[in-house]
Symmetry: none
Subunit: 407 residues, 2 copies
Amino acid sequence: MRLDDLYSQLTISTGAKLVLVVLDGVGDVATPEQGGLTPLEAAQTPNLDQLAQVSALGRMIPVAPGITPGSGPGHLALFGYDPIEYQVGRGVIEALGLGVDLQPGDVCARANFATLDDKGIVTDRRAGRIPTETCERLCARLQERIQQLGDTRVIIRPGKEHRFVVVFRGPDLEGPLTDADPNREGLPIPRAEPRDPQNPRQQKMAKLVAEFYQAALPLLAGEKPANGFLMRGIAHQPHIPQFEERYRLRAAALAVYPMYKGLAQLVGMTKLEGPQTVREQFERYLAEYDRYDFFFIHHKATDKAGEDGNFEAKKRAIEELDAALPVLLQKKPDVLAITGDHSTPCVVRGHSWHPQPVLLHSRYSGTDKRARFTEHDANHGSLGLFEARFLLRLMQAHARMFDKFGA
Amino acid sequence: MRLDDLYSQLTISTGAKLVLVVLDGVGDVATPEQGGLTPLEAAQTPNLDQLAQVSALGRMIPVAPGITPGSGPGHLALFGYDPIEYQVGRGVIEALGLGVDLQPGDVCARANFATLDDKGIVTDRRAGRIPTETCERLCARLQERIQQLGDTRVIIRPGKEHRFVVVFRGPDLEGPLTDADPNREGLPIPRAEPRDPQNPRQQKMAKLVAEFYQAALPLLAGEKPANGFLMRGIAHQPHIPQFEERYRLRAAALAVYPMYKGLAQLVGMTKLEGPQTVREQFERYLAEYDRYDFFFIHHKATDKAGEDGNFEAKKRAIEELDAALPVLLQKKPDVLAITGDHSTPCVVRGHSWHPQPVLLHSRYSGTDKRARFTEHDANHGSLGLFEARFLLRLMQAHARMFDKFGA
């Protein structure tokens, strides 16, 4: 019996309110360069401290030991999905990140402009990192001339610098395909081929990509340096069991950045637009309290500071959350979890594999007798070290949403 | 390779003595309502404290994160079986609970008396919760008239109030069937059908249940309010690898309540009858020391107190165990584990999903430098947080019962 099936079988609706606050990349490591403290340890967090003293603490492995997740797997795990079972192609993530309203069955590709010589050999895979405005102008031109290929709609959306995405929306399409990218200069663009040569939907998709190249390359012929493009991560939006059906929770997402809105939308959460700061997000939670059972609230600044290796900025991003926390607690949810989707240690200047700390508060969480919410305190918590995909199940348990298993 | 097969392959007999003491539902949470202490923390336990100081500590997930086990899955895990793989039907658990000496292949049903109107519609699913004496009288009447249906023996055993069990013992029987229970008033009793319509043993079983109804209903026709009955959880005793063969340990069970005796019997332990208190159980252990290698000693009072939300009673139940502990230690086993089958926090007033604390003592356990056996101390132990089904394997390891794996 699959464990997810057991959880589903035991699930009951209770009307409880659950809130998941994600401080993106909050986890860190205490290194000598930083005075032996993590940003969570260095930050002034009176409100988090008070909450930690009546909560259960622990640390979570985002995917598997040693694996550094991107935002996609990191959030899928927090939403209770096994990120290895439910893999979302890079094209889909990029499209979500650019705010494309994806539909089930859409096939997406990450693309970027490149420079070709007169024999079609790739001489610069990033077309000299053309300015974003050029990218936007070229995408607009492509979109104007290529709206449809046979029965399939084509959606082209520019990203930053040389990057863009192409979405194919039509019947009987499927990924994944191999990349239309030689992965180094000095070679021609290879044809995107079905990963499974017997799969007729992948065959159809490969034909569409070839047709897209045939239509698009002539439109770029006069450009310099962006007279070509590469396509990678060509895959369809996977079927993901939808949140409300899976957990019996009406879920809303309060996120500022498109990618996190997109990931929430992928699992069927309702996007609540508007709030720009964490305080505004908490205020909006208060306003929407009665309409949803589950709130995903995403705070990006911690991750950005970690990516920049900016210890002070990461500390301030945590303090900003702490200062706003009393707003959230005006309507204290039945179950509140505060954590990250992964660690982004300043010393790494990027996502990492270090287990992120987690705080879980409910009437049934008890206290772990720890003074603060830090990595060190979390090491001593009753939740121990566990896989992030179980956090949502623990939240359900604390909401009394599971029947007893067996007599 | 299945992990269980690896364990079996490595297992050797050493003649070591292993003791598993189960304080049913001992785990708890420290809540403000209880002064921030758990019953283990509040209890005076000088003997447990002394033992904890030279033991390894940890916490165990009874089934999977967030899942609250019944006594069946809780104990199967402690006995080293994956409780999701080895699921025991409610009928089997109830029959064990009422002390029926089940045999492999027996199909059991939970039943309860109900009230039917003159069209056979269920008007009260519990027949007004008739007194236990009435239930006993009606069960005796049914058993007297219905002893056999074709080649199958029928065993009827009364429970409390309106509850009873029916056991079918005959060739080629199998469950599970659907319930002969409309699950609400206002509907007739549905026929119990095979869960797998192609399974001939389930078909035979469904026919037997129908025949049982045909024979039994007329015997209740004149009764008021108990003129009918419902049957649920109709399933056979699953095949469970027997304890001695699986672990190379001759095992004995010292339990007072029938359900725990029954669960021990299900895996092939010998039931040692007689002792009523934990002190008497420990004395009996001393007397039987040479005849068995493994002793399962079950102390119920902690769970009952937790179910009642009675903090003081739970504390006293722990102190009762502590006071008797020196008796057990007169013949110190080679490996001693003290734990619960799950938590029954006073604040929950029922079983819960919170990992239970565990203490493991042997010549090889070392010390975790913790002063006491409490949930909080267990959070800091060397055993970490692990699945309860591995405790028995750890006990075997501490008994030096596993050969080295690989060169």
